[in-house]
């Protein structure tokens, strides 16, 4: 009986080999899925599913201003500490406003100090540390972060991957509004060299 069972197992094994051949033959005749990079690039439909580094999302009415409310949730939740969010300071009151405020205070009224704008003063991102886990994207309460479709990332220096996301958003808004007639990906200000 064991012999018959062994034969059965052998035939089963042979059949599985034939199935394997079928799988690779189908792959052989199917069209290739890679592109010849310098001559052709990946089309937009395929790019849409690509998760590159994170980037800021602009407001619906002002695309150059991020939706970000500078709460710092992303930086707090980031396991690799690659995000830095700096809040804006409240604007200094002009001398007239100052005197007006002092007078109001002297009258015993409740003074309303000018509030800081919610969007961040600086939003820098170190892609060389990022593990693309997406925790920042998930934790953002304002939906201001998303993965970019930037696949052609290359640089000569680690500093090339320190991005100023605010500058990047402004560049994207500019190229979308048509101020630069030929949007060239390399002209996008994506690095913050010298901490600018």
């Amino acid at each position: 009986m064991t012999m018959i069972r062994e034969f059965g197992k052998a035939l089963q094994g042979l059949w599985s080999l034939a199935i394997g051949l079928g799988v690779t033959f189908r792959a052989f005749v199917r069209p290739q899925v890679t592109v010849h990079y310098p001559r052709a690039t990946v089309d937009d439909a395929n790019l849409r599913t690509f998760h590159g580094h994170v980037e800021l999302v602009g407001k619906d009415d002002q695309s150059a201003v991020p939706r970000c409310i500078s709460c710092g949730m992303c930086a707090m939740n980031c396991p690799s500490a690659c995000l830095t969010v700096v809040k804006q300071k409240p604007p200094k009151p002009t001398p007239e406003q100052k005197t007006a405020m002092e007078e109001a205070e002297a009258r015993g009224e409740k003074v309303k100090k000018p509030a800081a704008p919610k969007d961040p003063a600086r939003f820098s991102y170190d892609f060389s540390l990022c593990s693309l886990c997406g925790t920042c994207v998930e934790s953002c309460p304002a939906d201001s972060l998303r993965f970019s479709n930037e696949i052609y990332q290359a640089g000569f220096d680690r500093k090339d991957f320190h991005f100023d996301l605010l500058a990047r958003l402004r560049g994207q808004a500019e190229s979308r509004s048509g101020r630069t007639p030929n949007p060239d990906p390399s002209s996008n200000p994506k690095t913050d060299k010298g901490g600018k």
């Binding site: 394997g20 051949l21 690779t24 890679t34």
Partner: protein, 325 residues
Amino acid sequence: MTPPFGMPLELFTIFLALALLAGFVGLNGLVLVYLERKVAGHIQRRPGPFEVGPHGLLQPLADAVKLVGKQLITPRCADKWLFWTAPIISFAPVFVLFLPIPFGPMLTAMELDLGLLLILAFAGINVLALCLAGWSSENKWSLLGAARAVAQSVAYEIPLLLAVLAIAFQYGSLNLSTIVSGQGAWPWQWNVMVQPVAFFIYFVCALAETNRAPFDLPEAESELTAGFHTEYSGMGFGIFFLAEYANMIVVCSVATVLFLGGWNGPAAPGVWWFLAKVYLLLLVMMWFRWTYPRVRFDQLLNLSWKWLLPLALINLLVTLVLVKL
């Protein structure tokens, strides 16, 4: 007929055939390298070599130039003589192997009554070359590779011989031309229909004898870095490489002669049918390589001793009974 240079005609044709075969083997090496990379590319749904020349056609040539240009290094403690004899021993028998193969009705380098025996005898020399290469390299990976090569080759030689013997009994001849002319033009008249088991055993053994995947244990680049040719640089490795491809053509040619009707074919029999069948078998070998993972060593030996050998014996016995009936 007076042959040139006062040589006997037989000798002259053999020299001419050897020169042509050298060109054929070299050219085939280039074509097969290109083909293998393209097959691998298409199975993995990528283009394969594409940059050098139209559709990457000049890539194997560029590879060859690079390989020839590399420095030849002998390891410090290696046995220098054996180390450099090994690639020559591995390549030299290839020419002998091609001699008795009938490429076409008139295209045989040397008409031999013992052609099949000659091929089987000289095919074994390759193992000696691998053994020498592994031993003389003074390197444990090479040595392990050589040991595996010997075990594998000895194991698979026996079922291969038995499978071939069944065909020889059927025709009562070891002359390859006789075996080819005994088969008809159409596929159902070929030996593969009469002896499918023998063909199966032969092809599996041929894969193992030429160290092709899934039986590429002697060089096993993931476990033994490159097995017996770990220490060979430049053309030292290149010759082993070329010999492997030449051996692939030999085993596929013998399979074509014994099982697929050789140069016989519908419409116009000739060398093109022979080459088409050989290349079809080579493509199947490449297809196998990019489909199957490498077997483990005990699986390799079990397959040979426990399955192929008894199967070949039974096949041989059945053939004997049927021939004598």
